[in-house]
Subunit: 368 residues, 4 copies
C-alpha cells in the first residue's frame, strides 16, 4: 500500500522528482463537494520551491490540473485525478549519485531495495513528492468544509535551537503564520530563525526544527480504537513526510515526567450542555478518539541531509571520496513543510470523518 | 481497518477487557514456519498482569490456545487463530463508569463515538487488548526466525524523571532487561524506578516513562517509500499502544538541534564487502527504508490515567463529583509495555520482510 | 486478503475442517445493532451437516458463541468474534490423502501451493469453512435489519438436469424453501430431486445443480462503479464458495441471445413518486449499482468431487491407484449451499449499504 | 476501494468519458521490469474505438504516456502513472441525458447514488474507462513476461445466437483472433457474426455475446483459499467490465448437469516428473488455486443498451417519452471487449503471481 493513504478517503500519489509529472488520484470523496483548482492552488503555492531565497532556487509553478472527478465545480463521487507537471528538472545535477550515495539520503536504501541506481536516486523520497500530498490535502479540506469545517493550522515552532513561544492556539490562523517568511508567527523569533537559516546556507550546511499543528473544530468521536487510533494515524502520516524524526501528541514526551494526577484532564460541564475536558494535556485525543478539544501535535524534522559542505564518505564501490553535493536544495525545509503537515493532517481527519459516519446512520425510526 | 494491522502479515484482534475471551486471527503467514503455543507463551507471560506487586493485582494466566492454522508444529499457510480466555473479570468494579467518565480514559470518547455507555467503558482501549498483540507479535518473530532472524529488544529507559543510561545496544538481551522487576537493565537505576513506582502506588497516583527499543539484524531494503515508510509504520504501531504520547526514531527530537553536517551518517566500506553507514544517528532507516544498521526508537508513555487519588470532575450529566477510581490498575505500565512494544515492532518488521520479497523474485535466468 | 471479505463490513474467517474450532472476527459493524447468538443460530442450523440423510453423516451441533463485541444484546461497535467448535473430527478418515490427492479436490493444489501435505488436505477448501461465513452473514442480516431491512432468499433451482419452475419472486420466503428437504420450493420437483440424490448416493456418485437467489428491498444506489460493482462483488462472493463454477445476474448468459431492444428495461413512473425500471431483465443492477428492483442471480455448483465410486488416478509419487474415497461427504451440496449463498449475499449487501452512507451524509444546512 | 483493483499489484483508475484524460496509477510492480509505452500501446490499439465500422465512430488515438515509475526502459519499483487524453469528446451529444435516463444504462443508478445528474451520465460506467484497464493489463503482462510468462488469449465465441466452434486451445494466438474483424478466429463464423452486427446496426439495435479466454502457462499454486480464490477474483474482474452478465469457469453451468464421476479430473504422471490432472473439466483451478492446466473461462456480455430504435420510457420527472439515443455507440461491444477481458485476467494473474512468492521465500539453508 506504499503509495496509498487512507481507507475511505484514499489518496494514491505518483511521480518522481525528475519524471514528467507528479500527481494523485483521490478515490472516495463524496459527490457534490464544491471543488475547483483555485481551491487547491493556494496550499501548493505555500509549498512551492523558489518562493523565497530561504529555499531551493528550483523554480516550479506547481500549477494543478483537475483531470477527472469534477464537473461544473462539484465533485462527481468518482476518482479525482490531479496532475502537476515537472518543468524545471535538471537530471544533470544528479550524475554524482550514480556512483556516490549521498549521506543520510535515500539513495543507498533505494539502491539496496530495488537493486538499481536510478538517475534521480531515491526519487520518491524527494520533497517534490509532497506536492501531490498538498494537493490531495486541499481536497480533504474542501470535503471537510462542505460537511464539518475544521481549521488546521501548522507553524514553525523551532529552527535549530531557536524556539518560539506557544502562540494563542484558539485564534492562530494561516495568515498569522504566513506573516513571516519562515512561517513562525512570532516576528521577533522569526527574524532570528531567518538569520540562522541564512547563516547555515552560506556555510553550506543545514538546519532542522519542529513544526507544531493545531486542528480546531474536530467533534468528539473521530478515530478508531486499536490500530487506527487518531494518534496512530497522525503519527504514521507525519512520519511519512520526508526528513521527519519524531511525533508527539499533547504533552508528548513531557507527559512522561508528570504524575497521573498532574496529567489527567478532568471533565466539566460544557456551556451548551453536555460535558467536556476542562484542560487539554491530552492534545484532543483520548483512547485514540477525538474528545472535542483542539488536536495539538508536534513533528520533528532533521536538518536537511543534502549539504554542500564536503563530507568524507565512500562511493558505492567502497572508494573513499570527499562528497560535495551539487544540485539545488533547501538549507531548512521547515517553512515549506508547514503546508505538508497541514495536508497530512487533513487527509487523516477527512478519512476519520467519513469513518465516523458509520456510527451516525439514521435508523428507520429517525433516531441515529 | 480499525482492528487489523499489516497488509501481507495481517493481524486482526478481538476482545474487550470483560468479555469471554480476547484473541486474534493472523492471516498471511507463509506455510511451514515452526510454531507452537510454547513459542508464544513466554512473551504473554512477560506482559501478564499480577506477575509482581508493581502491577495490577488482576490475575490472568493468559494461556494461549492455537485454534487453527498449525498442524504438527508447522504453519499451514492458512489463518492462525489464537485465543486467550478472560478468567478474572470483575464487571462490578466498573459500575462507577456507567455514570462517570474516568478523566483521561477512553470512557467519554467511546460513549461519544458509539452513543452507548458499555459496562466496561472503552473496553477496546484497555491494556488487556494488548495481550492479543503480544501473541501475534510472537508469531511474527517465529516467521522472522524461520527466514531472516531479527533481534528485537525493548527496555524501560525512564520512569518519571528517573533516566537510565544508554545500555550497550549491540549486546542488550531480553534476559538483561528481565534482570530487574522494572525491566530496566541498569540495576541501580531500576531500584530507584521501583521505589518511585511504589511511592506513587501508595499515594494513589501513577507514573509514565519511556520505552526504548533496538531491532538488530534487519538488512537494507525493508520498508516502502512514501506512506508506508518503515518509520511511519513503526510510528503508527507505537502510537496505537494505549497510553502512548510520542515516538522518536534515531536522534529524534534531538536531531532538530543539530546541523546537517553533524547529523548526517556518511558511508564506509563494510568488512564483508559493500558499504554501510559509518554512524547511526538515523536510527537504521533512511528515506523510510532500512539501511542495515540497528533500528532504534523511543516511545513515550503518559502516566496511567486511572488513579485512586480523588479527582474533581463531573458525571455524564454534568453533576460535579469527586471521583476515586476503584478496580485494579497498574501504577506504571512501563514494565508490562516492554513486550507490547516488541510485539508491535515485530508485526511491522514481519510485514516489511514479506513485502520486500517482491523485489527479490528470481528471474527465469536465475538472477533476482 | 485471502481470508477477509468486505471493506467496511469486514469478515475474517479462520479454521480448518479438522482443527479445534472455526470462527470469524467481524470488524466494522456499527454500535447498537441488536444481536444475540439466537439470531445467528438458525442459519447455522440450516447449513449444519447431518440434518437429513441427504447429506454427510458427520454430526456437528455448530453451536455459535459470541466471544466479544456484544453486550446486553447490542453490538458495541468493536470486533465481534464468533466461535464454532469442531466436535466430530475423524482425522483417521483422511489418511489416504497423505499419499493420494483426491481428483478435483483441493488436495493437490494446496500441496503445490504450500509445499506440504496437511493431514486434512485442503482444509480451508472444506465446506466446513462455510459455517463461519453463515454465522457472519447472519450478523450482516442483523445489521441490515436494524437500518434497512432486506429479504434474501435462495433456493435450489436445479439438481442435475431436474429443473424447477421459477417461483413467485415477490413472495418466496425461507419457510417456502425449507418446506422440502432439498430446499426447492416446488414440492413435486423437490421429490424428483430427492430421488435423484438418493440414487447417486447409493451409486457412490454425486450431483451438482443451481442455486438461485433473490434480494428484495435493496434501494437504488448500492454498489460502486468500476471494480466494486455490486455485480462484481456478488460474483466474487459466489465464486468463493466451494464447488461453484458459474454466476449469472438477471438474464445472465441468456441475455447474450437477445437484442438490445429486447433486453433493455425502460422506465416508468413509480406509484409513490419518482421513476423505476418497468421490467427487470437486468436483475436489479445497472452499471454495477442497484436500481431498486429485486436483485436476482444464479450460481452453478459442480457435482461433489468426493465420490466413493472407484477412480483411476495416480498417487503423489505417480503410482497408478484405484481411488475409492472414504470419509463422510454429501452426495449433493445444493440444499446446504442455500444458506451459504444467502450469507455471502448478505455480506456483500451489508458492505454496500455502509459504503453508500458516505453519499448520504447530512450537510450543515440539513440537506444530504 | 471502488477504483482500485488488486492487493499487491494494485491499479487505481480515474477518468470519465468526457473529462480531460483517463489514466491509472499502478503501484506494486517490482523494479527492473522492462517496460515502454510501445509495450502498452498495441492492446490499447486493439480496444480503440473507430478502428472498424463495426464500432463507434468516435475517434480516439488512445496514445498512452508513461508519466512516472519508469526510467531507461525499466520500472523503478515506484508507482507507474499512465495517462491517455480524451480528444474527441462531444458533450453536446449527451444533453438528452440531463432529463431522460437511458434505459438499462447507468444514468439512473448514478443519479440515485450520487444525487446529481452529471452531463456525461454514468461517466465511469462508460466503456471508455476500460482503456485505463487495458493499459494497466499490458503492464501486468510485462511483469509476468519478466518472471513467469503466461499467454492470455481471449476471443469472441458467440454473437447473439451465432456460436463458434471451440478453437484449438493449445495453440490459439492473438494473431489468430485478430485475423477477423470481429475477433472470432473461425473465418466462416466470423463472417456471419459481422453480417449480424451490420444488420442490427442498420436496424438501430444491438447484440451481445460471449467472450471466452484461455490462460496458458500458469503454474500450480496461484490463487488464495477462501475469498480470494482465483475463480473468485476472475469472476469479480470479469463482472466489473461494463455490460457483463455472467461468468463461468471450466465446464461452468454445464457442470451442473454432470455426475461427479463424469466431471472429476483424475491425475496422471506428468512427462517431466510429478503429476498433473489428466483432463481439464475444472478449467485449470481446483479449490480456488491453479492446478497447472490452462485456465479457461467464459464471460457473457448483454446487448449494448444504447440503441437508436425508439424506446417508450419516462423522463426523470415521470413524463412519458419516446427515447431515441443520439451520440456514438457500438452495435456490439464484443470485438473491443476482447483486450479488456485479457487485461483483467492479466491483472488477476499478476497479483496472484506476486502473492504466491510469499510461499517461495528461500530459507537460510537455501531451501524454499
Amino acid at each position: 500500500m506504499a503509495s496509498t493513504f487512507g481507507s475511505l478517503f484514499r489518496v494514491t500519489t505518483s511521480g518522481e522528482s525528475h519524471g514528467k509529472a507528479i500527481g494523485c488520484i483521490i478515490d472516495g470523496c463524496p459527490a457534490r463537494v464544491p471543488l475547483t483548482a483555485e481551491m487547491i492552488q493556494p496550499q501548493l503555492d505555500r509549498r512551492r520551491p523558489g518562493a523565497t531565497d530561504l529555499n531551493t532556487p528550483r523554480k516550479e509553478s506547481d500549477t494543478v490540473t483537475i483531470l477527472s472527478g469534477v464537473e461544473q465545480g462539484l465533485t462527481l463521487g468518482t476518482p479525482i485525478a490531479l496532475s502537476i507537471p515537472n518543468t524545471d528538472t535538471r537530471p544533470g545535477d544528479y550524475h554524482q549519485m550514480e556512483t556516490i550515495p549521498r549521506p543520510s539520503h535515500a539513495d543507498f536504501t533505494y539502491a539496496e531495495k530495488y537493486s538499481l541506481r536510478a538517475r534521480s536516486g531515491g526519487g520518491r523520497a524527494s520533497a517534490r513528492e509532497t506536492a501531490a500530498r498538498v494537493a490531495a490535502g486541499a481536497v480533504a479540506e474542501a470535503l471537510l468544509a462542505a460537511f464539518h469545517p475544521v481549521e488546521i493550522v501548522a507553524w514553525v515552532e523551532s529552527v535549530g535551537d531557536i524556539q518560539a513561544p506557544r502562540p494563542d492556539l484558539a485564534t492562530l490562523s494561516r495568515a498569522d503564520v504566513d506573516s513571516t517568511l519562515v512561517r513562525c508567527p512570532d516576528p521577533t523569533v522569526a527574524s532570528r530563525m531567518i538569520q540562522a537559516i541564512e547563516t547555515v546556507r552560506d556555510a553550506g550546511d543545514s538546519l532542522g526544527g519542529v513544526v507544531a499543528c493545531i486542528c480546531r473544530g474536530v467533534p468528539p468521536g473521530w478515530g478508531e480504537p486499536v490500530f487506527d487510533k487518531l494518534t496512530a494515524r497522525l503519527a504514521q502520516a507525519m512520519l511519512s513526510i520526508p526528513a521527519t524524526r519524531g511525533f508527539e501528541i499533547g504533552a508528548g514526551f513531557a507527559a512522561t515526567l508528570m504524575r497521573g494526577s498532574q496529567h489527567n484532564d478532568p471533565f466539566e460541564a460544557a456551556p451548551g450542555g453536555g460535558i467536556r475536558p476542562a484542560s487539554n494535556r491530552g492534545g484532543g485525543i483520548q483512547g485514540g478518539i477525538s474528545n472535542g478539544q483542539p488536536i495539538f501535535f508536534r513533528v520533528a524534522f532533521k536538518p536537511v541531509s543534502t549539504i554542500s559542505l564536503p563530507q568524507e564518505t565512500v562511493a558505492y564501490d567502497g572508494t573513499p571520496v570527499t562528497f560535495e553535493a551539487q544540485g539545488r536544495h533547501d538549507p531548512c525545509v521547515l517553512p515549506r513543510a508547514v503546508p505538508v503537515v497541514e495536508a497530512m493532517a487533513a487527509l487523516v481527519l477527512a478519512d476519520a470523518f467519513l469513518h465516523q459516519q458509520i456510527q451516525l446512520i439514521p435508523r428507520p425510526d429517525g433516531t441515529t
